[in-house]
């Protein structure tokens, strides 16, 4: 046997082709589009109903109400109580989960393939005939108020919530917590839930996604039987503000006296999902802070040991969600960590990534694509995204090709346009007595110290 060369990684084998699974579309009468991906690998089916009822278009007084209404769907239907509903679902091994995000409400359901008929009927019953009983609505309201209290005392959640608030102008919905604030949540009642569902739980602008061991005709027949007569609606109107709070760099410390760690968030408004720079930004951000071997992580974690991990992220939404760098660092290195983060952002905005970094990032993004499409629920979620963000039919099918086409010049242009070191909002939740002075000395911008809530 010849000696093994351990200094060089082995050559890869023959590439196994992978394509995004074909999606068949069937319009149902009433206007609910059906999209089906047949995945016969295991006898499971994931179903997602996308409803055009997101948080972003609600006014401040109703902040959180789309989230609360979706959650309150578990309270039961006109035909059965919440407990009866849970028993009916779980008796056939099905799980139902309803949630609202900024841009849509999603009701997802997974079950074994041979229980799809019963499960689909229950899914439709939950959405088309919700009862919102007073007692259940009251419970969900109280739970949400308790959750708000928890978020205020959890340093990471507090940092994320305050960062959003300090990044965006007061009129921008993305500046508030998606689950609402104490006053708007306290206002939530059965009447609010019923009104929101009556107005916005409509098929137009939404869609039903089915991925798994089922063929399109069977899925269409089941969907027709369950959703017959459901009609109306329209996409959410848009035109929300995504203005920043300031056009210059600011530093905010939210005081947690004695904290052993600081939660850092650094960012500014980012871009919308459908921005033409989307793919170039994904490549650039992978180099910056989107992978383990990103510049930020190798610097703050592997070189300096400041943190367990640091990430940068563009929250792509229908409108410009935030671009944020997040890390939790030891108290005594807080200013040094912020300095390194700002330095990496400045370097990226000035020079962009190197040719080699762009190549590595393209390979990474294209390569992990099939890893994130292993399960029926993952495939269903990707198809649902196409509905939520109104993406072209070939978005996923041509995703890797578009990533591979990103050049260093594209990534540099994206970095220059979308990373703005002079407009950063720096938010640090930590021990102000220990960190405010050193942060001031960095000279990034004026430092404001805030009391912690409560």
């Amino acid at each position: 046997m010849s000696a093994l060369d351990r200094y060089h990684p082995p050559a890869p084998g023959a590439v196994r082709p992978f394509d995004f699974p074909p999606v068949e579309t069937r319009p149902l009468e009433g206007g609910l589009p059906l999209r089906v991906a047949r995945l016969p690998r295991l006898p499971v089916v994931a179903t997602m109903l996308v409803i055009p009822a997101g948080e972003a278009v609600l006014d401040e007084r109703h902040a959180g109400h789309a989230v609360l209404t979706a959650t309150a769907l578990e309270g039961g239907t006109l035909r059965r109580s919440g407990t009866d509903l849970a028993e009916a679902l779980e008796g056939i091994g099905a799980s139902l989960h309803a949630s609202a995000g900024w841009d849509a409400t999603t009701v997802s359901l997974t079950c074994l393939a041979d229980r799809l008929e019963e499960a689909m009927a229950l899914l439709a019953e939950v959405v088309l005939e919700p009862a919102f009983p007073e007692q259940e609505v009251a419970r969900i309201r109280e739970q949400q108020l308790a959750r708000i209290k928890q978020r205020e005392m959890d340093p990471g959640s507090l940092a994320s919530d305050r960062a959003a608030e300090l990044i965006y102008d007061a009129a921008a919905p993305y500046g508030r917590p998606a689950g609402g604030r104490v006053d708007s949540v306290s206002r939530f009642s059965t009447a609010h839930a019923a009104a929101l569902a009556a107005e916005r739980y409509k098929p137009m602008g939404g869609g039903l996604v089915v991925a798994g061991d089922v063929d399109v005709d069977e899925a269409a027949a089941l969907a027709r039987a369950s959703f017959a007569g459901w009609q109306g609606g329209a996409r959410d109107g848009r035109g929300i503000s995504v203005e920043p709070r300031a056009r210059h760099a600011t530093v905010h410390v939210v005081d947690r006296p004695g904290a052993v760690q600081s939660e850092i968030r650094v960012g500014h408004p980012g871009t919308a999902m459908k921005h033409p720079d989307h793919h170039a930004l994904s490549v650039m951000n992978t180099v910056l802070g989107g992978a383990f071997t990103s510049r930020l992580n190798l610097n703050l974690r592997e070189k300096h040991g400041f943190t367990y991990g640091v990430r940068s992220r563009f929250s792509f939404r229908r409108d410009a969600g935030p671009f944020t760098v997040s890390a939790a660092v030891a108290t005594d290195v807080t200013a040094a960590a912020v300095r390194e983060i700002v330095a990496e952002l400045t370097r990226m905005a000035a020079e962009g990534p190197t040719e080699e970094e762009v190549e590595a990032a393209r390979d990474y993004i294209a390569g992990v694509f099939p890893l994130r499409l292993e399960t029926t629920a993952q495939v269903a979620a990707r198809i649902a995204e196409m509905i939520v963000y109104d993406l072209p039919d070939d978005h996923h099918a041509r995703y890797r090709e578009r990533i591979r086409a990103v050049s260093r010049a594209d990534a540099l242009a994206a970095a220059r346009r979308h990373v703005r070191p002079d407009e950063l909002t720096v938010v640090v939740v930590g021990a102000a007595a220990a960190i405010a002075g050193p942060l001031e000395e960095l000279g990034i911008g004026p430092v404001t110290v805030h009391l912690r809530p409560g």
Binding site: P10, M153, G156, Y364, L371
Partner: protein, 422 residues
Amino acid sequence: MSLHVPWERHTLPNGLRVVLSPDPSTAVVGVNLWYGVGSRNERPGRTGFAHLFEHMMFQGSEHVPKNRHFELVERAGGSLNATTWFDRTNYFETLPSHHLELALYLESDRMGWMLPALTQDKLDNQRDVVKNEKRQRCDNQPYGDWDERVQAMVYPSSHPYHHTVIGSMADLDAATLGDVAEFFRTYYVPNNAVLSVAGDFAPERALDAVARWFGDIPAGAAIPPLPGQPDLAPRIGATVRDRVRADVPLPRVIVACRVPTVLDPGFHAVEVAGALLGSGRASRLYRTLVRERRVAKDVIAYVFPLVTGASMLLVWATGYPGADPAALEGALVEQLEALATVGEEEVARAVALTDTRFVRTLEQVAERADLLSMFTLLFDDPDRLNREMDRIRAVTPADVHAVAERWLGPDNRAVLAYEPAA
């Protein structure tokens, strides 16, 4: 429904157990290694070391410089990680299937040639990273010390599960390069590991590649016995309590009980009991405490699947502002005791939900590989993967009644209560 996940098992001359589970319906492959070492093997004064060691395994090996391991896997479009637990440490990669051999190369290099790349700088760097992990997960987190407090009550100070996986800051500070080398030579040997591969590959060629990359690694000595006193009375012997006033937002009560280990045939009934208590919205805790009586904001039931002496079943309830911890404890205990009368239909529902979740778990090659490693390391039987659900389905209401009577009573409870500091 019966499962037929294919598998074949081999053992290399150096003792490495290899499980191969091909699945041509996917384009990815999962590689998973279970080493039979975890926090239970740590000696006094070195708590947290197994996990710190796990970090050191990513710092390069003789033929792979620092950061190169991550760079190669990410460049190949792979994901990777590792976790440390009481009884084992696992390392795993998922990759587009044509990069299978890359994972074998990297895993073999650190199994065989980790020590030549070890430096004090790397240890100091990862010690800082791990201390920040502890701060982020525990010290800077409301309720972040719950597991430390619960384990200290459920397991006596002489038992290997008395301390947490993350360990103490002082012990992390005390760790030396010598400790790393000794731990490596003692536990990171092929005869203490299972390598599983699941997904798109040809078994014969994969086995060749495994033999090529791992075959030269010498077998190690037999694994030394656990430190401390692993034997344990089946029950705690009383209701023991720990009451904490802390910087937490809401009152929370955790009740933990010693239950049979995963190696015990009675463990499946414990799992079903856990599902009846906390799985889904028709479960006992959610239905009564959250929905009907509205005494809890959230509830959890969880079974720690452990090997040494006793596993742990735990339930917790988070109250609304101002809630009385004694009332939360009473409500939790009432539900533990009520399992003694659970009926056929309710058991069937818990089993149905578990069934679907198990099949969904198998959608991911990484999960398949991890389960195969587990069943092989713990039971020397990869086929338990295919029969696991049959065992769960065989659990009867009488089995669950027995769990409640034997293991969930007042002579076997540790109660941890958090109250917000004023």
